[in-house]
C-alpha cells in the first residue's frame, strides 16, 4: 500500500470515529492503524485520561499508592475522598507538577504526560483550576481572560499580539457564561472569592482544553453561585471531559444527578466507584468517612 492510500484510509476511519461521537469505544475501527499526529489527542478508544499504577511518595509518605483511573472522553467525573486521600496529588501528576515514582499517565491514547513539562501539558489540552483561586490579581478580568485565550504561547507572538474579532467574541461569550460581563474592567484582585473562582473557571474555558481538572471549584461560593456553577459544568459535558474534586456533597449530587460515576479516593488509591448513592451506601466508604 502506498502512503497516500494509507493516509486516505486513516481519514476515512477518523471520520467514522467522529461520527460515532465522544465517549464511544470506537468499536473495531479503533484498533485499525491511524497516523499519529504530535500534540493532537487521540480519543478513538474512548479514553481521554488513563492513569495506571501511579505511586508518589513524599519522604516515605505515600500520597498515591498504585492509583489507576480512567476518564472517558466527554465524561464528567466527580472525585471525593477524605483529606489526604491524594486528590490534589493526582492532579499534580496529571499536570506535570509532580513526577510519580512509578506508573503510567496517558492523555488520549498517544500522549505520555510523564514526558511533558507543565506548559506543554497545558498546551496539548489539559486545563487545571487550583484549590485556592489563582488569578492575576492586578490585571483586569478582561486581561485575565485574554492571557488565557488559546493561541501561540511563545514570546515573539505575545509582543505583537492583537485580539481578533473572533477572539473578542469568545471572551465576551465566556464573560457571559461566568456572569462577570459587567465587571470586565474590574481589577481581578477586587473580586469576591466566588467571583475569583468563576474567573479562574472562565480562564480555563477560553483556553479551550479537552480535559478540565477542577480542584474544589465551589469552595467559598454562595448556594446560588454553586447552583449556577453546576449548570455551567453540566453544559460543558460532552465537548469537554471534566474531573471535579469536591467535598460539597450537595454539589456532587447536583453534578451527578444520580447517574454519573463518582470515584472515592482513600490513602492514595481508589476505594470505590459507582453512583453517588452506591458509594454512600458502601460500607468501606462509610468507615473511612466516619471512622471506625
Amino acid at each position: 500500500m502506498t502512503p497516500e492510500l494509507q493516509q486516505a484510509g486513516a481519514r476515512v476511519r477518523e471520520a467514522y470515529a467522529k461520527k460515532a461521537g465522544p465517549g464511544s469505544s470506537g468499536g473495531r475501527a479503533a484498533s485499525y492503524a491511524r497516523v499519529v499526529r504530535e500534540g493532537v489527542v487521540d480519543t478513538s478508544h474512548g479514553t481521554i485520561l488513563y492513569l495506571d499504577d501511579i505511586s508518589v511518595s513524599f519522604d516515605g509518605f505515600k500520597a498515591l499508592n498504585a492509583l489507576s483511573l480512567d476518564i472517558r472522553a466527554g465524561e464528567l467525573r466527580c472525585i471525593i475522598g477524605p483529606n489526604g486521600a491524594g486528590k490534589t496529588t493526582m492532579m499534580d501528576v496529571v499536570t506535570g507538577k509532580t513526577r510519580p515514582d512509578r506508573g503510567k499517565a496517558f492523555f488520549g491514547a498517544t500522549i505520555d504526560l510523564l514526558r511533558l513539562s507543565e506548559a506543554d501539558i497545558a498546551q496539548v489540552g489539559v486545563g487545571r483550576k487550583f484549590q485556592k483561586p489563582t488569578v492575576y490579581e492586578r490585571l483586569s478580568v478582561f486581561e485575565n481572560l485574554e492571557l488565557s485565550l488559546a493561541g501561540d504561547r511563545r514570546v515573539p507572538a505575545s509582543v505583537f499580539s492583537r485580539l481578533s474579532g473572533a477572539e473578542l467574541d469568545r471572551i465576551g461569550e465566556v464573560l457571559t457564561s461566568i456572569h462577570l460581563k459587567p465587571l470586565a474592567q474590574r481589577t481581578a484582585g477586587a473580586l469576591s472569592h466566588g467571583q475569583k473562582q468563576w474567573l479562574e473557571i472562565g480562564m480555563l474555558l477560553v483556553q479551550d482544553p479537552k480535559l478540565l481538572l477542577l480542584d474544589e471549584p465551589v469552595a467559598g461560593m454562595t448556594d446560588e453561585e454553586t447552583e449556577r456553577t453546576a449548570e455551567l459544568f453540566l453544559s460543558l459535558e460532552g465537548q469537554h471531559s471534566l474531573v471535579v474534586v469536591e467535598h460539597d456533597m450537595k454539589f456532587v449530587e447536583a453534578l451527578t444527578q444520580g447517574r454519573r460515576k463518582v470515584t472515592v479516593l482513600h490513602e492514595g488509591s481508589v476505594l470505590a466507584e459507582g453512583s453517588l448513592a452506591d458509594v454512600q451506601a458502601n460500607d468501606k466508604v462509610v468507615e473511612v468517612y466516619l471512622g471506625r
Binding site: 506548559a119 487545571r128 492586578r138 485575565n144 509582543v159 480562564m203 483556553q207
Partner: protein
C-alpha cells in the same frame, strides 16, 4: 486594546461602555505630559546653562548640569529595575554589574582615545605601562573602534544576563534566593575587576579621559551633547518600556508576578518570558553605564559593590514599583536628596537613606507614585 472593549460589552447596559475609553484617553494625556516633562528637562537644562548669563538667577551651574546628567543615567537603571522587579516580580540586587560592564566597555574606548597624552606618553593606557605590559591584552583588541565598543556596551551585559538568567530561571530559582545570587554575582565581578591581572585598571579603574570621537570631552559643548543624548536615551527607553508593558507580552510578565503557577498551567513557559525581559533590562543598564562614564569621568569596581545595586532597588521602591514614571522620579528624589545631604550633613546621609526606605515600606507601599495616585482617586 481597551479601545476595542466596548464591542465586547455591547448590549451590556449596566456596565458603562464609555468608561474604558475615557480611561485610555486620560492615560494617553498623562503619558504625553510625562514625556513632555522629560523633553523640557532635556532642553531647558542646557539652555539655562549655556544661554543664560552666569550673573542671572536662572543660570544653572555646570555642577548641577553634571549632577542632573548623572541622575538621568541612574533613572535609566531605575526604569530597567522596574521592568524586572515592578512588572515581573523578580528582585535583582545585582544590576550594578550590568551598569558597570556597560561603563567599562565605554571606558576602554575612552582610555584608547587618550592616545599619547597620558602621564607616560605611551600608546598603552597608563595603568598598563605601570604594570609593565608591553602590548594590549586580547580583550582590548578592538578597543580603538567606537562602533565595536558600543556593541559591547549592550552585548556584554546582555550576554552575561542571558547566561546567568538561563541557568537561574531554568532551575526555578525564585524570590529571595534569586536576589541573593545576584548579590553574589555583582560581588564576584567586583573582586574580579579589583585584580590588576584582569586588565581593567584594578581598583583605580579608568579615569583622566581626554576626548571622545576625537572631540575634547571636558568642553561645555561636549558635555551638553552628552547630556542631551542621555535625556533622549531616557525618553526612548521610557517609551520602549511603555510599549513593553502595554503589550500582551507585558501582561504576561505581570501575570508571572501575580501567579506564576497559573501562567505555567495556562501553557506559557515562564522561563522564556523572564529570560527575555531580564536580558533587556540588563542591556538597558549597560547603556546607562556607558552614558554615565564620559559624564562623570571615572569608572571603577566600586560601581559593582553590592551597596550600589541595593541603592538601585531603593530608587525603584521609593518611586513606586510598577508605574514606570515612579522609579524615574525615585531616582531623582533619592539622588537629589543624597547630593544635598552629603553637602549639608554628610555624616547623616546613610541614616536618612535607611529611614527613607523604612518610611516608604511602612507608609507608602506604592512609593511616591502611589501617593500621587491615591490623592487623585480620593
Amino acid at each position: 486594546m481597551s479601545a476595542v472593549l466596548p464591542a465586547v460589552l455591547a448590549g451590556e447596559r449596566e456596565g458603562p461602555p464609555a468608561a474604558p475609553v475615557a480611561r485610555t484617553g486620560r492615560r494617553f494625556y498623562a503619558n504625553a505630559a510625562i514625556v513632555a516633562a522629560f523633553v523640557s528637562v532635556t532642553v531647558l537644562v542646557p539652555l539655562l546653562n549655556l544661554a543664560v548669563p552666569a550673573s542671572s538667577a536662572f543660570h544653572l551651574a555646570d555642577f548641577h548640569v553634571a549632577l542632573i546628567g548623572k541622575i538621568m543615567c541612574y533613572a535609566i537603571c531605575a526604569l530597567a529595575m522596574d521592568l524586572i522587579w515592578g512588572y515581573t516580580g523578580i528582585l535583582s540586587l545585582g544590576h550594578g554589574v550590568f551598569f558597570a560592564l556597560g561603563g567599562y566597555a565605554m571606558g576602554m574606548y575612552l582610555m584608547r582615545q587618550i592616545g599619547r597624552d597620558g602621564n607616560y606618553r605611551s600608546d598603552l593606557p597608563d595603568f598598563m605601562v605601570f604594570l609593565d605590559w608591553k602590548a594590549l591584552p586580547w580583550h582590548w583588541t578592538f578597543s580603538d573602534s567606537f562602533a565595536f565598543q558600543m556593541l559591547l556596551v549592550v552585548a556584554v551585559p546582555g550576554l552575561l544576563a542571558f547566561v546567568f538568567g538561563y541557568f537561574a530561571f531554568r532551575s526555578r530559582i525564585k524570590g529571595v534566593y534569586f536576589s541573593i545570587i545576584t548579590q553574589a554575582l555583582t560581588f564576584a565581578a567586583m573582586l574580579l575587576f579589583f585584580r590588576n591581572e584582569t586588565g581593567f585598571g584594578g581598583n583605580n579603574g579608568f579615569t583622566d579621559f581626554k576626548r571622545i570621537l576625537g572631540i575634547p570631552i571636558a568642553v561645555p559643548s561636549t558635555r551638553m551633547a552628552l547630556f542631551v543624548l542621555t535625556g533622549c536615551t531616557l525618553i526612548g527607553f521610557y517609551l520602549l518600556a511603555r510599549a513593553i508593558v502595554a503589550s500582551k507580552y507585558g501582561r504576561v510578565l505581570q501575570a508571572i508576578r501575580d501567579a506564576e503557577s497559573r501562567v505555567m498551567f495556562s501553557g506559557y513557559d515562564p522561563v522564556a518570558y523572564k529570560l527575555s525581559i531580564w536580558t533587556v533590562s540588563a542591556a538597558m543598564c549597560g547603556v546607562a553605564g556607558a552614558l554615565y562614564v564620559p559624564q562623570v569621568g571615572i569608572i571603577n569596581p566600586s560601581e559593582m559593590s553590592p551597596a550600589a545595586s541595593i541603592e538601585m532597588a531603593i530608587w525603584t521602591a521609593v518611586g513606586g514599583r510598577g508605574t514606570l514614571v515612579g522609579p524615574i522620579v525615585g531616582a531623582f528624589f533619592v539622588n537629589g536628596a543624597k547630593s544635598w545631604f552629603t553637602q549639608v550633613f554628610p555624616e547623616f546621609w546613610l541614616y536618612f537613606l535607611g529611614a527613607l526606605f523604612i518610611a516608604v515600606t511602612l507608609f507608602l507601599p506604592h512609593g511616591l507614585a502611589g501617593l500621587f495616585r491615591s490623592r487623585r482617586q480620593a
